[in-house]
Amino acid sequence: MKIPSLLLKTVSPVVLVLSILLMWQLIIWVLSPQEWLFPSPLLVWTRFNELWHANALQHHVLVTGTEVLAGYGLGIFLGLCSGYPISQIRLLEKVATPYLVAANSVPLIAFAPLLLLWLGSGMGTNIVVAAMVVYFPVTISTIAGFHSVSPYHTRLLHSLRANKWQRFRRLELPSAIPGILAGMKIAAPLAVVGAVVGEFLGTGEGLGHLILEANGLLDTAQLFVAIIILALFGICFYLSSLGLEQLLTGPWHHKRRL
């Protein structure tokens, strides 16, 4: 990597964060809104420190983090497990695809109260909600991924008399990986949304609960703390799926194909 591009990659996010903070502070200076309506960055930082030292934050971060991770993992696992057979069995695909697309266009979040009713409130339910919103984009992109196998490559493996496992391992899976990763990138922020919505409906813990609590108390600074942590969650997830993509397909993907 050349030095200017390395510089750009590391410096530009820092500059972005600094300019957001500056804008925020400017609004405070120019409009001087009331504290409970729009707290200053400094106030939010102070509130964060208070919460942190009172051990009032750690547990909630852990709960939401676990829900997001578990929901994301479960959703991906189920998406892969159903996407592959659907992509291989034509009849199954014809039957399943319209329902998948239809189910994906229903706001799945709307099902959350129903799940709460059925499964009771708790981390388990929130994991299911997160998994559900992750499941559909991953399934659809898995199907698309396995369909992107080049017919020339299929012919090649056929001529080499590769068995079914060899075809899967050496052709179908690597062909599908860019598509699957694209679905995982779309699903990463959705997992956070799913978990928080579950928490909104009342489990008494997690960052979603912290937001509701802060809202009720007009503790806007705490609200901001929770929102910023959630945003960082989303960013971390997205970056890790980006990292995975780089790891798995970095040397060849998005390059000219032959």
Binding site: L160, W252, R257, L258
Partner: protein, 250 residues
């Protein structure tokens, strides 16, 4: 090495049977270089698939004199797997055959050296030009040291100058390795330049066979020799200018 008798292949379509190959008689001897020339849709690729055993004849027979005959196949496209390095692309047939790493690595390197591409071994296919990629594809077909090399318009997608160059190299490779090659093309010039024998395929039938007795080694000057031009003229006169019927796409 290969013998086809009354070989026919019919595909069933929704709108009835479609005869692709009809009553072919064909033989291929060891160390021979035979070219099959025909226009698009004349059944050339289907014939190669039959030789390869990828598809079964509808009637007639195709026999191999050696039961364990090994065949390497070069397609119209390089069909290199983009996520594998050049070396691992070449090694693919050996990996599928279950060879251990030490074996395939050495053989793949040797095979790449044969086509002059060993310097690209650690690179990825996207870094290669079209001609380089097709040479790698040839290395992949050679890696199992096959008795017979089937080539299906391997240079058809390349520009004419590059194509001539690769053909000259192919002849050198053939002279060195003494493989049997069955080469399919729609270029009359290419067929004459390369082969010992040109078989003309028209509408699913072998309508004529022309022996090419132009002395070897052949090089760029061969294209301008009077005997070469005479052969071109002869084959042109055999091949009808207009095909009788537009054929259904396969």
């Amino acid at each position: 090495m290969i013998k086809a008798e009354q070989l026919s292949k019919t595909f069933l379509h929704n709108n009835g049977p479609h005869v692709v190959l009809e009553d072919l008689e064909f033989h291929l001897e060891e160390k021979e270089f035979v070219a099959i020339v025909g226009r698009s849709g004349s059944g050339k690729s289907t014939f190669l698939d039959l030789v390869m055993g990828l598809t079964q004849p509808s009637s007639g027979s195709i026999t191999r004199t050696k039961p364990d005959l090994t065949i390497g196949y070069v397609f119209q496209r390089p069909a290199l797997l983009p996520w594998r390095t050049v070396l691992r692309n070449v090694a693919l047939p050996l990996e599928i055959a279950g060879e251990p790493r030490q074996v395939w690595e050495e053989k793949a390197r040797h095979s790449l050296a044969q086509v002059g591409m060993v310097h690209t071994a650690e690179g990825y296919p996207f870094q290669l030009s079209g001609g380089m990629a097709q040479r790698v594809a040839i290395a992949r077909a050679l890696v199992q040291e096959p008795d017979l090399l089937l080539m299906d318009e391997p240079f058809g997608a390349l520009d004419p100058i590059l194509r001539d160059n690769l053909n000259v190299n192919l002849l050198k490779l053939w002279a060195r390795t003494k493989k049997t090659i069955l080469f399919v093309t729609h270029s009359i010039n290419e067929a004459i330049f390369l082969s010992d024998r040109v078989v003309i395929l028209e509408e699913g039938r072998f309508i004529e066979e022309v022996v090419i007795d132009i002395p070897r080694p052949r090089d760029f000057d061969t294209f301008h020799s009077s005997e070469f031009i005479a052969k071109v003229r002869k084959i042109r006169s055999i091949m009808p200018i207009q095909p009788n019927l537009p054929r259904a796409p396969l």
